[in-house]
Every structure is written in structure tokens, then in C-alpha cells.
Point group: C2
Chain length 237, copies 2
């Protein structure tokens, strides 16, 4: 079985988060000097603290931006600008899906040979609407939207899918969320880096040396079908 991550693996996502961040800084930058690194650190700190309560996704980001805007401006942010920040979140939630190069062909080719599932985190409603808009929803036998991608979550999902870790390959752009936890369980990982990485995903536990033989790194999704063929040939099962 092959599992696919969604954001920045199948379609663009981090680009839109960065655009949102730029719009946010334009708004808050009219009140305070954001070139001051303390202000940026404070925003990052508020986001990090809020992830535990709000979880991942656009709504969480929007609420953190609003809270940080109030704190950074010491309450001076006006209602119209608060509304502009809410609108940043709405715009992201309805933004058209932009599939990455070669994704449709690669996923469909893989799906002809293996059961394929989508495993992603983020806002439930946002991820579901992106899957629908991608045209790929019928290709995936199962779509799992989870709150955290750690070994416990993968253990539960693989148990529900009735697949052994050694028979499972996860494909994704995040070493922290898509690769290391699956390798830890004895599964396989195909890392396809994206040109942007969310700051909260950067601090990754690297795979341990013993797990590296079960990891591949590709430059593009186009290389995936061939890589899976090679993995299947080399796998003991």
C-alpha cells in the first residue's frame, strides 16, 4: 500500500501560507516595526503555543495571527484590520487547488498497481474540499485526516487499513511528518522535498541510520512509479 501526504506533496500549500504571512505583515507592519526580530519571534512563539490548543490548519493560523496582532500592537489594531486578517484565512480556505507537476499521472499510475491512501493533517473541511477539487478523490481508497503525524497515529491508521508497516510506503515532503515516523515503525518512506518548508516542520528528527535503507529521496513526483517498482523488487515481501 502507498500513502500520500497532501499539502506540498500533491498540491501547493506553503506558498499560500507564505503569501498569507506577507499580507499579515503588511497589516501589522503599519503599527509596529516588524524588522525588529523580537516581534517576529513573538509571533512565532504565539503560533507555537497555540498549535497545542488550536491544532494545524488555516483556522488555527488565522486565530493566532489575530491574537498576535493584538499583542504586538498592544491593542491598537483597529477593527477593519482585524477583519482583513479574518479575510486572509477565508481566502486561503477557498483558494483553488494547484496540483504540483506530474502529480495526477504519477498517482494514477501508482493506483493501478497498489492500493493508495491519502494521509494528511490540517483543517478537516479544508482538506476535504481540496481533495474534492483535486480530481483525485476517487483514486484514493481512503482519506485519513489526522491531527498529528506521529508513530502512534500511523500505527492506528495502518491497523485500521489492515496493512503491515513493512508493506507500506509513505510519500511526502516532510521528513518530520511523513518519513521518520513511518521508518520508525518499520515502514518505507519516499521523500520528495518541496522548495519551501513550514517553520514548524523544520525541526525534524532525522531518520536513524538503521532505517535509511528504507528511505528514498526524489526530485519530482514523476520519478515515483519507477522508484516503487525498484522498492518492490528489493523488498523481502
Amino acid at each position: 500500500m502507498v500513502g500520500f501526504d497532501a499539502d506540498d506533496t500533491l498540491w501547493r500549500s506553503e506558498d499560500f501560507f507564505e503569501e498569507a504571512q506577507d499580507r499579515y505583515e503588511d497589516i501589522v507592519g503599519r503599527y509596529i516595526d516588524l524588522s525588529d526580530s523580537t516581534a517576529r519571534e513573538q509571533l512565532y512563539g504565539i503560533e507555537t503555543a497555540n498549535l497545542k490548543v488550536f491544532g494545524y490548519g488555516v483556522k488555527s493560523m488565522t486565530l493566532s495571527m489575530i491574537e498576535a496582532a493584538v499583542l504586538l500592537t498592544e491593542g491598537r489594531i483597529d477593527g477593519a484590520d482585524v477583519h482583513r486578517i479574518v479575510q486572509i484565512g477565508k481566502d486561503m480556505l477557498v483558494h483553488p487547488v494547484e496540483l504540483l507537476d506530474g502529480v495526477t499521472e504519477a498517482v494514477e499510475e501508482v493506483a493501478r498497481r497498489f492500493p493508495v491512501v491519502l494521509i494528511t493533517k490540517g483543517d478537516l473541511i479544508h482538506q476535504e474540499s481540496k481533495v474534492r477539487a483535486s480530481g483525485l478523490s476517487s483514486t484514493f481508497s481512503r482519506i485519513e485526516i489526522v491531527s498529528e503525524k506521529d508513530p502512534q497515529t500511523y500505527t492506528r491508521v495502518l491497523r485500521e487499513l489492515e496493512v503491515e508497516p513493512g508493506q507500506f510506503v509513505m510519500v511526502g515532503n516532510s521528513v518530520r511528518s511523513d518519513i521518520t515516523p513511518v521508518l520508525t515503525l518499520g515502514g518505507w518512506g519516499v521523500h520528495i522535498p518541496y522548495h519551501l518548508t513550514w517553520q514548524h516542520e523544520v525541526q525534524a528528527e532525522p531518520p536513524s541510520d538503521g532505517d535509511l535503507p528504507r528511505m528514498r529521496t526524489l526530485a519530482s513526483m514523476r520519478e515515483l512509479p519507477e522508484t516503487l517498482t525498484a522498492l518492490t523488487d528489493s523488498s523481502p515481501a
Copy 2:
């Protein structure tokens, strides 16, 4: 198989949404006269429109409250009050779980006789943390957090659970979300009304007359084990 709804079926939820609404009205009521029914209608209208983009749950509610506060006060709401509204959302997300009367005993008794699953909508991270805090997570063989409870969603979930609708009973407080869609598919419904119903759940499609023989209404979760025994005896399978 028996499916349970979560909010206002296993634990209190709408009470906290009403408390949140009261706190919100205290804040906004300092700027405008909320006894004016137009103001309340405007808030309800903004919430309804935003449900399509933001989905269900506390984060969605909080963002709608912020947006409505800006619009209702014509931008006069100050930063400290915006922050208070963010805090309403945070407080709800970390509020201790309060199980309803008799729930633990009833669910555990049912789980000894049938596979039991939890099917709920709302914020992924919030529902997961409530399930953990409830002490019931190991009782449920599966926890499905969905973005909408309509016949399509139940069809998908029952297919994934490999159970026929005629062998499935859904237990919940909402006719709209828990009972009618399951009856429509040929399943069974046990309605346990809660003393409060969220305004957005009130406009329910009532079950059709032909489906009523597969519906029961109980005053309390305590009556559930006995009711399921009677249903099993009367069911053709």
C-alpha cells in the same frame, strides 16, 4: 454495530457554546444594543455563511464571532475585546469534559455486546482531546471525526467499517445529524434528546413515516442497553 454521537450525547457541549455566546454578547453589548433583533439576526447570518467555509467547531465559531463583532460594531471593537473573544475559544477548547449521566456504564455495557464506534463532527483536535479525556477512547473500536453528517458520509463510514445499514444503530441527540440520515439509508436510530439544541441543528428534516419503525426515542442513556436488546430481538437479522 452501534454508533454514538459525542457532543450532547456523551458529554455536555451546547451548554458551553451558550456560555460562550453569553460572554460574547457581554463584550459586544458594550458597543451596541443587542436587544435589537437585527443585530442577533446579523450574527446568525454571518455564522451560517461562515459554516460553509470554516466548518463546524470552536475555531469556526470564534472566527465568526470576531468577524461579526467587527461588523456589528462598525469596526469600533478594540484590540483587548478582540483578544477576549479569542480567549472564549481557547477556554472552550481546554474545558474539562463533563460526561452526561449514566454514559460510562451504558457505553461499556453496550460495548460488551456490540462493536461500538464514535461518529462526530467538529474540530478534529478538540474532539480527539475530548475523547481522550472522557476515558472512553479504548471502548470505541473506531473514532470517526467527519465534516458533515449526511447520508453520503454515513455511507462512506459504514462501507469502511464493513457493516450493512440494517445492522447499524446510531445513537445521538440530533435528529438532523444522527437519526434522519441513518434511517434514510435503512439503518436504525436511537434519539436521546438533549435539553438544548444548537440553532443550526434545529431545522431538521423529520424522518419519513416509513422509517419511523426503525427509530426509538429515549429519555436517558440509561435506557439504551435494554432498548438495544429489544431492537435486536425485533430486527429481522
